[in-house]
């Protein structure tokens, strides 16, 4: 087929990537919202691939269940079910495993290859115990005779189960959701489709960004591969300059701010919002105290002064974050929650967190902010500070000391505190921790 003629919305056949490799996926041009969290301006594709060897056929990933018919029609245009020896699922999310039960029923000779972590998900998705599957790790191989599939263990991109599969003889990487994007264009190939740069970056920002560390680990496995084509499960097939997309992933996953910090220097961000200026005064005292410890670069921000996106970018690179809010009607102020609820797109695990605030009657905000930070898997070594209405000089001195303690904790210089079980229980009951 002439490349210029490819328009898979008009044909139900498979599309050749080479004389042995075919796209057998489905188009979903009308989708406008994927998994609640992602906008899809022109829909998406569910890419499935078929590899033919001289001793059998492999199917790599399937499609969302309601697109099964399109998938099976394309598959049947190039292979018979009895030829299918291997099914690979690089990722078990329903948009890729939807047609799997029916495929396994139609291709009873096929064995399924998945990652170790995919096992429990497989059973939960298919609700069947007796399945013909095998788990694989990096450098495990399966043969189709003159074609060989090699597996790459690339977890958390973006589920625990994710892996990539490499066709050794043709240097094609079936990358799962990695290098994918929600972009539906019936011309399929990156050198033919419309401008999808925004979709590529947007997909990375929402799907891969929380797992930057794992992206870099995966790139260590992908970088040494010779790459003729990257074939992801969503969006264009990357046959033109595939290495550019690998490079872009490395750029996106590399940290910007840390390179500006000195060696062993830690960064601490203090965010606050204040109605009468009391929480602001606390913030300034904490800022001054935290800055007294060498090797900690401290920044102070009024939450009213910028938009959320910039703050999220800063937090991603920070070692510690501190939130200050007054208690208003028994709650922290909305700008604090707006920011704290926007952190799911980055990884906050293990960062240091702390909270403070002025209050009039009850002062719940500090504990609530602390709880949210625990939920985000931050560690909170220094108990929060609450001050009733206007801080006294003594209380501001305590804030300064609080700032110093936070910086010391960041530097790993905080002495170990020893408490009894009873103290822990009492603090839980009183909702205030003082150790």
């Amino acid at each position: 087929m002439n490349v210029k003629d490819i328009d898979v919305s008009k044909i139900q056949d498979a599309v050749a990537l080479s004389d042995r490799v075919y796209w057998v996926g489905a188009l979903d041009p009308h989708l406008r919202n994927f998994d609640i969290i992602l906008k899809t301006a022109n829909g998406t594709t569910y890419n499935s691939y078929l590899v033919r060897g001289d001793q059998g056929v492999a199917v790599i990933d399937t499609v969302k269940e309601q697109f099964s018919e399109e998938f099976f029609t394309r598959l049947e245009s190039v292979a018979d079910y009895s030829e299918i020896k291997i099914i690979v699922l690089n990722h078990l999310e329903p948009d890729h495993s939807g047609a799997l039960p029916e495929l396994m029923r139609r291709a009873p000779l096929a064995k399924l290859y998945i990652s170790q972590k995919a096992q429990l998900m497989l059973k939960a998705l298919l609700k069947r115990d007796e399945l013909n599957y095998e788990t694989v790790l990096t450098d495990d191989r399966v043969s189709l005779g003159d074609r060989t599939l090699r597996f790459l263990h690339t977890p958390y991109l973006h589920w625990p189960d994710t892996q990539c599969t490499y066709l050794e003889e043709e240097h094609i990487l079936f990358s799962g959701d990695v290098f994918g994007c929600h972009f539906c264009d019936s011309r399929l190939f990156n050198d033919k489709v419309g401008d999808f740069r925004f979709s590529f970056e947007y997909y990375y920002a929402h799907i891969m960004r929380p797992f930057k560390r794992y992206v870099l680990q995966a790139l260590e496995l992908i970088d040494p591969l010779k790459l003729n084509v990257i074939a992801p499960t969503h969006g264009p097939i990357l046959r033109d300059k595939p290495r550019d997309y690998v490079r872009r992933f490395r750029e996106l996953a590399s940290s910007g701010l840390h390179r500006e910090l000195n060696e062993n220097e830690k960064s601490l961000l203090i965010f606050y919002i204040s109605s009468y200026g009391n929480t602001a005064r606390m913030a300034e005292a904490i800022y001054s105290g935290a800055g007294m410890i060498d090797g900690v670069r401290v920044s102070l921000y009024d939450l009213e002064g910028s938009d959320i996106t910039s703050f999220v970018d800063l937090i991603e690179e920070a070692d510690g974050i501190v939130f200050g809010s007054p208690t208003i009607n028994g709650d922290a102020a909305k700008p604090v929650w707006d920011l704290l609820s926007s952190l799911a797109v980055i990884n906050t695990t293990g960062k240091l967190g702390a909270a403070f605030g002025s209050f009039g009657w009850s002062g719940e905000a500090v504990r609530m902010m602390e709880d949210r930070m625990r939920g985000l898997k931050l560690r909170l070594p220094v108990p929060g500070v609450r001050i009733k209405l206007i801080p006294t000089d003594e209380e501001l001195a305590a804030c300064k000391q609080f700032g110093q303690q936070i910086s010391k904790a960041l530097k790993g210089e905080l002495e170990t505190t020893i408490v009894s079980f009873e103290q822990v229980l009492q603090a839980e009951q009183e909702n205030v921790r003082s150790f």
Partner: protein
């Protein structure tokens, strides 16, 4: 009641706890970085590194062993929602 010292290295806190308590029960109370997901020994979210006192935790059950294996966990890693304290231990988030 017999007591043992449970130290959370990441927040610099040692708690004297009754023997038999699970690590996660204390971790969530004091706000240490060892946090839980499902609490049923399934998801692996609460995996922790046992820095000291490896032998002072209850022996892993078959279920815990399977989750650790599925997550390719190293030798001194345990699930905080499963491991009970028998003697002094120091832990940090995995």
């Amino acid at each position: 009641m017999a007591k043992a010292n449970l130290t959370f290295k990441d927040i610099g806190l040692t708690v004297s706890v009754p023997v038999g308590v699970r690590v996660i029960e204390i971790s969530e109370k004091v706000g240490a970085g060892v946090v839980y997901g499902c609490r049923e020994g399934d998801c692996g979210t609460c995996m922790m590194k046992v820095e000291e006192g490896w032998d002072n935790l209850s022996t892993p059950t078959i279920i815990e062993d399977k989750v650790l294996k599925d997550n390719l966990a190293g030798r001194h890693y345990r699930l905080a929602c499963q491991a009970q304290i028998i003697g002094d231990v120091t832990v940090s988030p995995a």
